[in-house]
Amino acid sequence: MVARRRKRAARGSEEGLTSPPGYSAIPIKFSEKQQASHYLYVRGHRVREGTKSSWPQKRTLFVLNVPPYCTEECLSRLLSPCGPVQSVELQEKPDLAETTKEPKSKFFHPKPVPGFQVAYVVFQKPGGVSAALALKGPLLVSTESHPVKSGVHKWIRDYRDSVLDPEALRVEVDTFMETYDKKMAEEEAKAQEEEGVPDEEGWVKVTRRGRRPVLPRTEAASLRVLEREKRKRARKELLNFYAWQHRETKMEHLAQLRKKFEEDKQRIELMRAQRKFRPY
């Protein structure tokens, strides 16, 4: 089996690599030592008319199937022969809609364990993309001049990185809370300002902070109200008062028994099918 695959791989390299339409394939290996290689599938980044993208058209290369040991720096280094690289962004999935990027705090968003990822590589010039599409490879992730850590060495480095500085954390928390408090204070002030002031149609917004606070508009609260109503109604109703009520309760009881009986019969049927009645 393996032999067959070998042969196929060999043939593949002779004939040029198969790649899906629109993409070109670039073999990538961890280092010289490896025999087989993964394939990056790359194409220029483009989106449909009308949709916006945070990546610049024409200058961005879209890369599929980036192996887990290949980091942003690494990819940038590997593609730099095609032209100067402006930025590399690795993601778990290709992003379809535009997302707003916030700088992520290393304290609150620890780096996830990498799997196979997709990358958006932005070159400084459009020429980089076309050069990259023509790249033959195989690319080597780890070379002697730029070794990439993996295995035990990587884990030890990760462990070291996970021991963070509490002071930096404190500073970050403080700045966040400061802006948050400011934001809340502003909202509060705005709400106070609007309190009791009718809008142009003459409506007054009633808030929790007013003189006569109202119930908060939550689902739970409205359910509670409904429940109370129901109980009130039930208290007024008479049970087993008329003859027909009697008859109906009896019939209901019988129906329950029948239903139970049918259920039991079904269970027994099932147990019989599973040979549950063989005692030994």
């Binding site: 196929r8 599929l64 040991y69 997709v118 509490p166 928390v173 028994l257 005692p279």
Partner: protein, 1146 residues
């Protein structure tokens, strides 16, 4: 371990559409619609699943017929529920003999009758002259002493009658026995044949001659001898038909004397019928002393005379009343499941039938009762009546010549007289057998009264073999030692009475001895009954010592196990001498704190594990002292499995003490947290959330004392780091503690802001703990690690309202509604449910000291089978808790061994598909609530995970099994448990020693596609392996605490980090299996679905490559590159990647 089921089967299952994909979303209307569609569309995989019954309105509310009303009313009054009624009917159908088979048996019996009548007679000879017997047959009796007076000749029987259950219609499959009584003609017997075994000798010769003439007949497939009910003086002849009916029936021939041949007054229990002068060849010392009575011998003779009268009695009582017959059949099943009915002195079906007759005669059972009611009445009677003290009698006459019940009590432990008033039906039943019956009856009554849904299943369908029912089991082997014991215990009269059967003669005295010695530690002592052997007619009857082994089962009393002291009387009391005699050299005079000077026995036991095994010391000591049985003959099965949960260094403890030490340290920490000054908000609760804090961590942590030179130092953070040039340091797992802070208006109402505030609290906690208690702390945004007394705790600050805030969503109209989200569920699980569970299980451990051992053994086994990843810690702990909270039909286990066996049994037999495992922690759920939970389960089955565990806190969603196991993993677990159980039980029941007890813990590896071998250098828990290596690497620990206190390396476990990477990168393509306790190999199984070529998709290229197949571009996994990736990702850790490429094709 037996052969693993082929991986192919496992893989086939994986390919099937998953029926029970847990669907978090999909509540509400839409979800329902979808599920009902699933029902009809995916009907085939959902087969074997209960579905809520749908009856049309017309069907439900139609006018009832009389018949229907009657049946419903009958069900209500005669049975527990309609389900039970149906179940009982099904069971009876299963064990009943069909009419067709009955006809075949009848035909066979007629044939047998003819053949017997045609056996030729022989001339009269002396009893000792047996040369007339042909060569091919041996006398089925040990003729010791050989010389005996009397003359014998064979004549065809005067009458051949069918007796026993076959005639009554109460015999049950699968072992159909038809008892046939052959009345010997009066000419064969002479006066005084009751004396000195003469009658039994003749009986044996009679059978031997019969056997010789019946054996060559082609009608029979086998003609063999056996003992009637295991009694060594009374052989019987077994005939089995030839052809396809071979297994259908066994006809047992019992010769019996002509009616009124023996004078009953000669056979009273106080009479002697085996003379010492004859039996021992000498007159008893001090001639003139009375001959010892031979009650058992007399009973055996009497039994033969009463065969027919018993059948007559039973047939008049049971007659044509179906209910009573059903009841007897159910009771027989009940006894058989408990292994009570077999062997000498078993509580046989015949005894139960007689008991029914007795209750009918005292009007406790009415003939209109249903089988279920009969079963219930008998159990009630057994549970409440002690026949060892107050015997009962079927005899109605008040003839003054009849002996009194008291006479029988003197001779027999259990008394139940037949209608003649002279024969004790329970003569061979020992007191401990009867107590076992009583114990079982009591348990069953509790079960019946508890209205449990599956009472029927537990009562009648669950086997209770000795090894699974008793906490400890011991084998006496070889049995020949008992002969010496007999002499030591001075049991000559008993030996004379039992015709030399020293096993049954010693049973009673031995059990009494042990019961007395074990005292408060013992709940119940049971013994196996010697099995009824069969042998060929050309062979000598088996010797007493060949009747297997004697197995004793001990049901322990956990509260008695904690004491190491056996307190005796004060030294000057007269009882002190008895005490000294009883305990021999172990008895010592001791002075106690209250000033008393008493005799006492102190056993050496420091740890819980050793205390559990004190019964072993007691038993071996007493047996050696009083019965001369050396400890090499006592094979004690009680603590063998405990080696698997023992720590690395200590061999005397199973970790309960270490766990308690951690819990003490945790208590201390929580006090410190409570008393912390300077926190802006006060601590409202401190709760443990780690397995250690509920006593279920397989290997309890030891205090860490790092050797600083072994590590790299990160001075500015006061932390140690692993060094790449050294072996991986010891694994230190931080133990999670949840610290709730009080609610306050100061908390922000925004999820992100709450996280920041929590982080600020984590920092503050670290600061304050360092300042006020001098503890080394390290704070991060989500937790604070505290290094205290060598243990590391991970404190997580929690705010009670946070899950709710995460749940809030605002509808367009401004209505705030609560919807579960992934994050809120997770947070709720971690900060609310997990601490609750931890405290509930902590409480369980206080009630049942064996819980820790059972839970840890179970977890250990599951992980050793490489399935630890699929099943969460909590789910396994809960399954173990179920064994204690719902032990029926057993009692809660008191030893890890029996608990583990029951864990395997539960896992392998529980119907996970159709039943939720409801664990009633703290007994919070009422019966009605449980019914409600069950019906809710039925309605939402398809949304729930495959394995469903409900607790009072979690009645709808089965939190702990949401993320696994997958159907395939559960299936695998069930299969493995079903294979491991018989293997382990066989090992433990083997009297020659269990062999290698770790066998069932070694995982089969032949099912995996790729094996990744790891280097032990980087496995920090290498020494915990099932086969613990003799030597491993230094892990940077000191035996003495070092000078400074830097934070040790926490949670650094390279195999786990490696697995996380593998699962992230290749989780779509393969499953990875690993034993976290020192496993040296990772098993990889390709997912068959991912090996199907797929069309190209940008979102699904992970680790695949494009190939052209038949002109089309398809994606297949890039296996060769992936195999190399395995090595790259685990550089340093991976030793070798073994691909078994013959197992797959791309």
């Amino acid at each position: 371990m037996g052969p693993a089921p082929a991986g192919a089967q496992f893989r086939g299952a994986a390919g099937e559409p998953e029926v029970m994909e847990p669907a978090l979303e999909g509540t509400g209307k839409e979800g329902k619609k979808e599920s009902s569609k699933k029902h009809t569309v995916a009907g085939s995989p959902g087969e074997g699943l209960w579905q809520p019954v749908k009856l049309s309105r017309a069907e439900l509310y139609k006018e009832p017929t009389n018949e229907e009303l009657n049946r419903l009313r009958e069900t209500e009054s005669l049975f527990h529920s309609s389900l039970l009624r149906l179940q009982v009917e099904e069971l009876l159908k299963e064990v009943r003999l069909s009419e067709k088979k009955k006809e075949r048996i009848d035909a066979f019996l007629r044939e047998v009758n003819q053949r017997i009548m045609r056996v030729p007679s022989t001339p009269e000879t002396e009893l000792t002259d047996q040369v007339w017997l042909p060569a091919g047959v041996q006398v089925p009796l040990h003729q010791v002493p050989y010389a005996v007076k009397g003359r014998f000749r064979f004549l065809p029987p005067a009458r051949v009658t069918v007796v026993g259950s076959y005639l009554l219609g109460t015999c049950i499959r699968p072992d159909i026995n038809v008892d046939v009584a052959l009345t010997m003609p009066r000419e064969i017997l002479q006066d005084k044949d009751g004396l000195n075994q003469r009658y039994f000798r003749k009986r044996a010769l009679y059978l031997a001659h019969l056997a010789h003439h019946l054996a060559p007949d082609p009608l029979f497939s086998s003609v063999r001898f056996s003992y009637t009910n295991g009694c060594h003086l009374k052989p019987s002849l077994l005939l089995r038909p030839h052809g396809k009916d071979e297994r259908l029936v066994t006809v047992r021939l019992h010769p019996c004397p002509p009616p009124d041949f023996f004078r009953p007054c000669r056979l009273l229990p106080s009479k002697n019928n085996v003379r010492s002068a004859w039996y021992r060849g000498q007159s008893p010392p001090g001639s003139g002393s009375p001959e010892p009575p031979t009650p058992h011998y007399n009973t055996w003779v009497l039994q033969d005379t009463a065969l027919e009268s018993h059948v007559q009695l039973l047939s008049t009582v049971l007659g044509s009343t179906l209910g009573l017959k059903d009841g007897v059949a159910l009771l027989k099943v009940w006894l058989r499941q408990r292994e009570l009915d077999k062997g000498l002195g078993g509580f046989s079906g015949f005894l139960v039938s007689m008991l029914v007759a007795f209750l009918v005669s005292t009007r406790k059972i009415h003939t209109t009762m249903s089988g279920y009611q009969v079963l219930r009445s008998i159990l009630q009677f057994l549970a409440t009546t002690d026949l060892t003290v107050n015997g009962i009698s079927l005899c109605l006459s008040s003839d003054p010549s009849l002996p009194a019940l008291a006479d029988f009590h003197q001779a027999f432990p259990v008394v139940f007289l037949d209608s003649s008033g002279r024969l004790n039906l329970c003569a061979d039943v020992t007191a401990s057998t009867y107590h076992q019956v009583q114990h079982e009856a009591r348990l069953s009554m509790v079960l019946l009264d508890s209205k449990a849904d599956d009472g029927f299943q537990l009562l009648l369908m669950t086997p209770k073999p000795m090894i699974r029912a008793f906490d400890h089991v011991l084998h006496l082997h070889p049995l020949s030692r008992l002969q010496a014991a007999c002499h030591r215990l001075k049991l000559w009269p008993e030996l004379q009475d039992h015709g030399g059967d020293y096993v049954s003669a010693t049973l009673g005295p031995l059990t009494t001895l042990l019961e007395q010695g074990l005292g408060s530690r013992l709940h119940l002592l049971a013994h196996s009954r010697p099995p009824v052997s069969e042998w060929d007619i050309s062979q000598d009857p088996p010797k007493h010592r060949d009747s297997g082994t004697l197995t004793l089962g001990l049901l322990l009393r956990p509260e008695g196990l904690t004491s190491v002291l056996e307190l005796g009387p004060e030294a000057d009391q007269p009882e002190a001498a008895d005490f000294r005699r009883f305990w021999g050299s172990r008895s010592e005079l001791r002075r106690f704190q209250d000033g008393a000077i008493r005799e006492a026995v102190v056993w050496e036991a420091a740890s819980m594990a050793q205390k559990r095994l004190i019964p072993h010391q007691v038993v071996t000591h007493l047996l050696a002292l009083h019965a001369d049985i050396p400890d090499t003959c006592v094979h004690y099965m009680g603590g063998l499995l405990e080696a698997l949960i023992q720590g690395l260094k200590e061999t005397s403890s199973t970790g309960e003490e270490a766990l308690a030490a951690v819990v003490r340290c945790y208590d201390d920490l929580s006090r410190q947290l409570w008393g912390l000054e300077g926190l802006p908000l006060t601590v409202s609760a401190v709760q443990g959330a780690h397995p250690v804090l509920r006593y279920t961590e397989v290997f309890p942590p030891a205090p860490v004392k790092p050797a600083y030179s072994f590590y790299e130092h990160l001075r500015e953070r006061a932390s140690l780091l692993p060094r790449p040039d050294k072996p991986c340091p010891a694994y230190v797992e931080p133990m999670t503690v949840v610290c709730h802070l009080e609610g306050s208006g100061q908390w922000p109402q925004d999820a992100e802001a709450i996280r920041r505030v929590r982080a600020a609290f984590q920092l503050r906690l670290a600061e304050l703990l360092t300042q006020q208690h001098g503890l080394r702390c390290r704070a991060t945004a989500t937790h604070t690690d505290v290094f205290k007394d060598g243990f590391v705790f991970r404190i997580r600050v929690a705010y009670q309202r946070e899950p709710q805030i995460l749940k809030e969503t605002r509808s367009p109209e401004g209505m705030i509604s609560l919807r579960d989200t992934r994050a809120s569920l997770r947070l709720e699980r971690d900060t609310r449910q997990l601490p609750l569970l931890t405290s509930a299980l902590h409480g369980l451990q206080q009630q049942h000291p064996a819980f820790s051992g059972v839970a840890r053994l179970a977890k250990r086994w599951v992980r050793a089978q490489l399935l630890g990843e699929g099943l969460t810690d909590e789910s396994l702990d809960l399954v173990a808790a179920a064994l204690f909270l719902h032990p029926e039909p057993f009692t809660p286990p008191s030893s890890p061994q029996v608990g583990f066996l029951r864990f395997l049994f539960l896992v392998s037999t529980f119907d996970w598909k159709n039943n939720p495992l409801i664990i009633n922690l703290n007994n919070e759920l009422t019966v009605e609530e449980q019914v409600e939970i069950r019906s809710g389960f039925l309605a939402t089955r398809l949304q729930l995970p495959v394995m469903v565990i409900f607790t009072p806190q979690d009645r709808k969603s089965s939190v702990w099994t949401q993320d696994g196991p997958s159907p395939q993993i559960l299936q695998r677990l069930v299969v493995l448990a079903a294979e491991a159980l018989p293997v382990l039980e066989k090992q433990l029941m083997d009297p020659r020693g269990p062999g290698d007890i770790r066998t069932v813990f070694r995982p089969p590896l032949d099912m995996y596609d790729v094996l990744i071998r790891l280097s032990p250098r980087h496995i920090p828990r290498h020494r915990q392996g099932v086969d613990s290596p003799a030597a491993s690497f230094c892990r940077g620990l000191l035996s003495e605490p070092g000078s400074s206190s830097l934070m040790p390396v926490l949670g650094y476990d390279p195999p786990q980090l490696y697995l996380a990477q593998l699962r992230e990168a290749f989780g779509d393509l393969a499953l990875f299996f690993y034993d976290q306790h020192g496993g040296e190999v990772i098993g990889v199984l390709w997912k068959p679905s991912s090996f199907q070529p797929q069309p190209f998709k940008a979102s699904n290229t992970k680790g695949r490559m494009v190939v052209s197949q038949v002109g089309e571009l398809m994606m297949v996994p890039n296996v060769e590159a992936i195999l190399e990736d395995f090595a790259i990702l685990g550089e340093g850790l991976v030793q070798a990647v073994e691909a078994r490429s013959e197992r797959w094709t791309v």
